[in-house]
Amino acid sequence: MTPLAGFLLVAALLFSIGLAGALTRRNAILVLIGIELMLNAANLNLIAFWRYGPHPEALTGMMFAIFSIAVAAAEAAVGLGLVIHLHRHAHTTDLDAMNRMRG
């Protein structure tokens, strides 16, 4: 197994763990944690491809990962703001208890 394949396997495992967390947990914050894990797994892929790709001096994968980190930070801020608003509105963060779209 090459180093690139090793990193890609770790990223795939981390992505699946995040997906399982996002799909199985009840708490909305845990769902956001799962989404963060998936985003990080994608970043690991980008950096690994940059490192073992043919032209690392072009910095393409590295830049993609850096911008992805910035966008993920914005996503986390808005997502957690939504969870706090939801908690104030429905007095719970249990996603199974939220079964209507009406306020």
Binding site: G6, S16, T24, R26, I33, I47, L59, A76, H85
Partner: protein, 167 residues
């Protein structure tokens, strides 16, 4: 594959697993920090110094703290009495396992798994990254700045107390 890689991979995967398996939400946030730190070390192992330190600053310094704040503001710090998994958790597990099987199969059977000569260590300094950000990637940089401002204002507006509307 070096010994360091296996240790870091095990640390990251264990942190990720603990982050979604533990019952107490605060413990989950702490395990998430471990996973982020493992990822930052994996970035450093890949000779991506800037991305590694940006990961530490942004994820451990900001996102993990934000998650802890959100947990405490939503009174989620107590361990829940009932099940922490949703009603459809079995379907979710099956989907996640299927996704991992497909991704793993694709990685193992791809050209990336064929051994080649060792790749030369890229000599990329922070100066190169700064030059690239200010020349070739200056438009994405400005857009990200705009996005971060919009997200900041949007998050504050969403989480702000609603004013009592005129009845």
């Amino acid at each position: 594959m070096s010994f360091v890689f296996y240790i870091l991979a095990a640390l990251t995967v264990a942190g990720g697993l603990a982050a979604i398996l533990l019952k107490n939400t605060v413990h989950c946030a702490l395990a998430l920090t471990v996973a982020f730190a493992g990822l930052a070390l994996l970035f450093l192992e890949l000779d991506a110094q800037f991305a590694g330190f940006a990961q530490i600053l942004v994820y451990i310094g900001a996102v993990a703290i934000l998650v802890v704040f959100a947990i405490l503001l939503t009174k989620g710090s107590e361990t829940p009495k009932g099940s922490v998994y949703s009603r459809h958790s079995f379907a979710g597990l099956v989907i996640a396992a299927a996704v991992f099987a497909m991704l793993g199969w694709a990685v193992i059977h791809s050209v990336a798994a064929v051994p080649r000569g060792p790749a030369a260590t890229p000599s990329v300094t922070v100066l190169d990254i700064g030059n690239a950000l200010m020349s070739r990637y200056v438009l994405p940089l400005e857009i990200v700045a705009l996005l971060l401002t919009a997200a900041l204002i949007g998050a504050v507006i969403i989480a702000m107390h609603e004013k009592e509307r005129a009845k």
